[in-house]
Point group: C2
Amino acid sequence: MATRTEVCYDLLKGRILDGTYGPGHRLVIDQLGRETNISTIPWRESMRRLEAEGWIEIIPNVGARVATFDAGEWTRTMRLLARLEGLATALAAEELTAQDLADARRINGEMSEALADFDPLRFSQLNRQFHTMIFHRAPDKHLVALLDNEWARLDFIRRSAFTHAPGRAVQSVAEHAALLDLLEARADADTIETAARRHKLNTLDAVTRHAVALGNALA
Amino acid sequence: MATRTEVCYDLLKGRILDGTYGPGHRLVIDQLGRETNISTIPWRESMRRLEAEGWIEIIPNVGARVATFDAGEWTRTMRLLARLEGLATALAAEELTAQDLADARRINGEMSEALADFDPLRFSQLNRQFHTMIFHRAPDKHLVALLDNEWARLDFIRRSAFTHAPGRAVQSVAEHAALLDLLEARADADTIETAARRHKLNTLDAVTRHAVALGNALA
DNA sequence: GCCCGCCGGATCGCATACGATAACCTGTGT
DNA sequence: ACACAGGTTATCGTATGCGATCCGGCGGGC
């Protein structure tokens, strides 16, 4: 059996990610303890970890609350993710098997279908799956962990700040195909890194332009 | 007064960073508690945070030990740091005041002196100071926090894996000067990012080549 | 009417205590 | 002499309890 600290951690993080505990939600330790019949200590420890990972904020003698992100945080996260993922994709290049590439192409094909079906949720899930399966091959555990965290953060922020750009999805599928071609052709690392970084920055730019057109400030 | 959890955290992290608790050192909670008259709970909580930050490893029902890094970890960290710092430096560009640039130039001048005095410790401290003062101006707290952590990790690793490249220090000072010129001239973000990234990758390449020449594998 | 200090409830911070787990050591049978 | 079972010890995991801290409301002074 997993330790209670892990149970608490998974439960809290799950509820934060799925939106049960939205931004600003107060996490009262005693209350959580009473609801779950788990004493306060495992809760406290799990919160320390969540705090270090940036999911909650703990103020001494006051309490913990789920972190809130301003609109600019989406921009900042994408900007960072572009660099991290560019590097990780280039590093993963050598490790990808023919099977991996075939799987990635299949996922990209499904994205095309989701697009035709006007299914944005599925599209977005497949998109994450596509990139995740690639960068998880990068031989750098620390980098992969950072990426997982930033992707999760992105999903969390997306729920509060609506980010969308019409037409971007079509282009995104095309860019995925181009990226896969580069990977298959064993292009040099710099080329792959630049393409992967550019891909993410293109999304960022498209959303930013669209937001500006609507009069929203994402900064 | 700071909470005991913070005291424990600072104490542990300090001892890990200054080498008192080297890689692999076992952290026995009861023992720490007896030595300091602080009960186990603040120690446990501080360790959760250190674990999340990657400084220690906790195995359930067994205990905590200071993380150990293989030789390749230095390479991986530099590789990552190059991207993060490239971005942060470019972002900081607009925020830097004339005074900041003057300070940076002064530090770079002192690096020159340290070089002439054959004082590698001082040189390395000034180098960190130089880059830190620049990237701390980047308007992205999360990114800055990541950078601080990676720099600290680098220092920690450096103690176990000797990393050195003859002649690199001279070139480094010159690259700093060139970078400052770019910043002063308000060069565009891409140019600055590339230069800052390149600067760090140059060090990485130089050290790697030197290690290979010595027959060491850093991978 | 407004400001300031006091008070009570909610909540956190931490020490103590005990049960649970894993690593080690020891002794026995072969 | 070796393999294995059993007990032993060091250490962790977590429940309970109490003192400390903060926040919000109330009443007195100006």
